[in-house]
Symmetry: C2
Subunit: 217 residues, 2 copies
C-alpha cells in the first residue's frame, strides 16, 4: 500500500504510556479525510442510491483521490457496512425508563427515527438485496445491523425480568421480532408514516405479547 502525503500526517511522538499507538514514524490516516469521505457517502447515497453509487463519485464529492477511499475501505459495500454499523450503534442507546412499557415506547421512538433517517431508508433495502445474493454479505449485514439491536433487546427484557414484569424464558431473538418487526414492516415495507398514537398502541400490544411469555410448552 502506498501512502499519499496529502492524506496522511506524521504519527505524533509517542505519549508516555498510550494504550495503543501507531509505530513511531508510520503514516496515520487523516481523520478529517475519513470524516469527509463518510459525509460524501451519505450525500451520494441520498443522491444516487447504493447501486449507482461509485467510489469515483464519492471521492469527487469528498474532494479526495480514489486511493484515499480504497486505503480505508476495500469496496463500496465495506464502506457502507461500516457506516451503517456506526450509525446503528450510535442510534440505539438501551432505554432505562423504569418500566417495560416505558422502555418499549422509548425504543419504538428511537427506531422510528432511525428508520426515517436518509441513510437507513436509502441503504437498508439495497443491503438486503445484496444479502439475498451473497451469504458473506448477509453475515456482514447481520453484524452491522443486528448486534446492537440484540444487546438492546436483551437489556430491555433482562431489566423487565429483574423487576418481575416479564416471565423468564423469552429469548432475545423472539423479543426482537416483536420489538422491531411490526415497526420495520410499517416503515420500511409498507412505507406508511407512523404517528405518536400509533407508537403508543404498538408499545401497548408489544408489551402484552412479551408478557404472554414463550407460550404453552
Amino acid at each position: 500500500m502506498t501512502t499519499d502525503p496529502a492524506d496522511t500526517v506524521a504519527a505524533p511522538a509517542p505519549a508516555p504510556t498510550p494504550p495503543r499507538r501507531a509505530p513511531a514514524g508510520a503514516a496515520v490516516l487523516r481523520e478529517d479525510v475519513t470524516e469527509a469521505i463518510r459525509e460524501a457517502v451519505v450525500e451520494e447515497l441520498a443522491a444516487v442510491g447504493f447501486s449507482r453509487m461509485s467510489i469515483e463519485g464519492i471521492a469527487r464529492r469528498a474532494g479526495v483521490g480514489k486511493t484515499a477511499v480504497y486505503r480505508r475501505w476495500k469496496s463500496k459495500l465495506h464502506l457502507v457496512l461500516d457506516l451503517v454499523g456506526a450509525f446503528a450503534e450510535d442510534g440505539l442507546p438501551v432505554p432505562a425508563t423504569g418500566s417495560l412499557y416505558g422502555d418499549v415506547r422509548a425504543l419504538l421512538e428511537v427506531m422510528s427515527h432511525v428508520l426515517r433517517h436518509p441513510v437507513a431508508s436509502a441503504v437498508i433495502p439495497d443491503l438486503l438485496v445484496e444479502a439475498a445474493r451473497n451469504p458473506e454479505i448477509a453475515e456482514a449485514v447481520r453484524g452491522a445491523l443486528l448486534d446492537g439491536q440484540h444487546r438492546m433487546a436483551q437489556g430491555i427484557v433482562g431489566d423487565a425480568v429483574a423487576r418481575g414484569e416479564l416471565p423468564e424464558g423469552i429469548g432475545p431473538e423472539h423479543a426482537l421480532d416483536l420489538l422491531i418487526g411490526p415497526l420495520y414492516w410499517r416503515q420500511a415495507v409498507v412505507r406508511d408514516a407512523v404517528t405518536p398514537a400509533h407508537l403508543d398502541t404498538l408499545a401497548h400490544q408489544v408489551v402484552a405479547g412479551l408478557k404472554a411469555g414463550p407460550g404453552p410448552a
Copy 2:
C-alpha cells in the same frame, strides 16, 4: 400494436351469451405463451436476480420473441409486479379455523412458506429498492403485496370480534403490523430459519398483543 400469428389465435366464435368476450375476429394472446413467459421470469429471477434480469433474457428462456413479452407487459417491473400480485393472491387464503389462535397460527404457517418461496425471496427485496426510489412503483408494490394481506387481516380480526375473542376498534393496518411484521423481520431481514415451535410462540404472543386492544385512549 402489431400482432404476431405465432403468438395469437383467432378468437373463438362467440358463445350464445358470454359475460365478457373478445370482439369476433380479434387476435387473442395465447395463454400458453403467457404461461411460458411467467415461468421463464421465475427461472430468470432465481438465476440472475431482478436488477440484472432483462426482457431479452426472459424471451430467450421462454423461446419467444421480445415483442411477445412487450405485448403483455410494458416493462420488466410491470411483469414482476403482476407475478407478485398473482402469487400473493394465490398464497393467501383467509384462514377460518374457528379460533383466533388457530387463524393466526395458520396465517403464520402460510406466510412463512410464502416468504421462503424463491419468487418472494428473490424479488421482494428488489421491489422494495425500486419502491424506495420511485413513489409510483411504491404504490404498485403496495397494491400487489398488500391488498390481499389487508383483506386477510380484516377477515381474521372481524371473525374474532364476532366470536367475542377480540375487542372492537383494532384497525386492519395495526393488526397486519403485528401479524406479519415479526415474521417478515425474521425471515426477510434477519434471514433466520423459523421452526414450528417458533411459530407457536409467535402466534401466542401476537394473539396476546391483539387481545390487548388499541390501548388506553
